[in-house]
């Protein structure tokens, strides 16, 4: 639903970095998207094709690495990846949980020519 603006940022950051590296073409962009972030890779791909047109990022492949949700139990400190949407600590069943991973949204690296 809000991937258009996000994809615009991806294109801007990628073009910036490519310019710094004096590259002529961006061939692949490696993205990390947390499973708890509200962003849908398919939508990002769809918008990317449109927004990168006529730039050196046109035709670049997007590689998505999905970062798993990770929680830390505040009662017994167990760190775990929840397997379903009902969040309980697997060790002590506590529901007092801190979200420690899964909200990432960043460009990790890219391949350029």
């Amino acid at each position: 639903m809000h991937e258009l603006g996000i994809t615009e940022s991806i294109v801007n950051i990628a073009l910036d970095k490519a310019r710094e590296a004096q590259a002529n073409k961006i061939t692949k962009i490696y993205l990390v998207v947390g499973e708890l972030s509200g962003f849908v890779p398919d939508c990002i791909e769809f918008y990317f094709d449109f927004l990168s047109k006529d730039s050196i990022a046109e035709g670049a492949m997007l590689n998505f690495e999905l970062a798993q949700a990770q929680l830390r139990c505040r009662d017994c400190s167990t760190v775990f990846c929840p397997q379903d949407t009902l969040w309980n600590c697997p060790k002590c069943q506590s529901q007092s949980l801190e979200i420690t991973g899964g909200r990432e949204l960043y460009i990790e690296s890219m391949e350029v020519e």
């Binding site: 639903m1 258009l4 950051i13 990628a14 970095k17 509200g38 009902l86 529901q95 949204l105 350029v112």
Partner: protein
């Protein structure tokens, strides 16, 4: 072919505009809260109740975010010092306010005449959790008819909230809403969160909410 490291947060553009917004608000000593909820939970009603109770003590500005219409801006304009309406229908994104939209709205408001800015986000429990606006406090309104499972279903927005207002408590005899289980799930995600039980219809609990808000504003000054 050459691989280059990037490691840059894709939301950085929004976050940097949000930081600018906050500097502008701080410069004019405006305390801003971002009010988020699903559609119909009572964001506008909470704003109306808050203005009714605080308008003699504070000069209140409102930013109304809606996909379409100026209905809410019309509703709040009598109690407010100034109102800005953002319609997201024609923008890049329509599901949430973002820092850039708020930045434009701030430019249209007489900030030096405002003490408290109430920003009503677009009704949605998912997208607004990704975008900071420059606010000082994030508030989620949740209402009894929505059910007591919302913190479990939409953990992000509740995990980041400074306060959660549970609205429509006058409906408690008629709906199956277990306040204790809502609170348990919410506090599990967010032990520091302030929780208020209110009815914007009867006015119950509004005083506690307003006292908290007022004390937060004083603490900031």
């Amino acid at each position: 072919m050459k691989k280059i490291e990037v490691v840059r947060n894709i939301l950085e553009a929004n976050e940097s505009i949000a930081a600018q917004n906050q500097r502008l608000l701080d410069k004019h000593k405006v305390f801003a809260i971002n009010i988020m909820s699903s559609p119909g939970a009572g964001k506008t009603s909470l704003i109306l109740q808050t203005m009714a109770r605080l308008k003699d003590k504070l000069r209140i500005g409102v930013i109304e975010g809606d996909v379409a219409s100026t209905l809410d801006a019309e509703k709040v304009k009598d109690g407010a010092t100034a109102v800005a309406q953002i319609n997201t229908r024609n923008m890049l994104e329509s599901c949430s306010l973002n820092a850039n939209m708020v930045s434009h709205a701030l430019n249209s408001l007489p900030l030096k005449n405002i003490d408290l800015l109430l920003i009503e986000n677009v009704g949605n429990l998912i997208c607004p959790s990704e975008f900071v606006l420059g606010e000082h406090k994030r508030v989620v309104v949740s209402s009894l008819p929505e059910g007591d499972d919302k913190p479990i279903k939409y953990p992000m927005i509740f995990a980041d909230a400074d306060a959660v207002v549970i609205n429509k408590i006058d409906l408690l005899p008629y709906v199956d809403f277990d306040i204790a289980s809502f609170q348990k799930a919410l506090q599990g995600l967010n032990p520091e969160v302030k929780i208020f039980l209110v009815s914007c219809k009867t006015g119950a609990g509004i005083e506690d909410w307003c006292s908290w808000l007022f004390s937060e504003i004083k603490a900031k000054r």
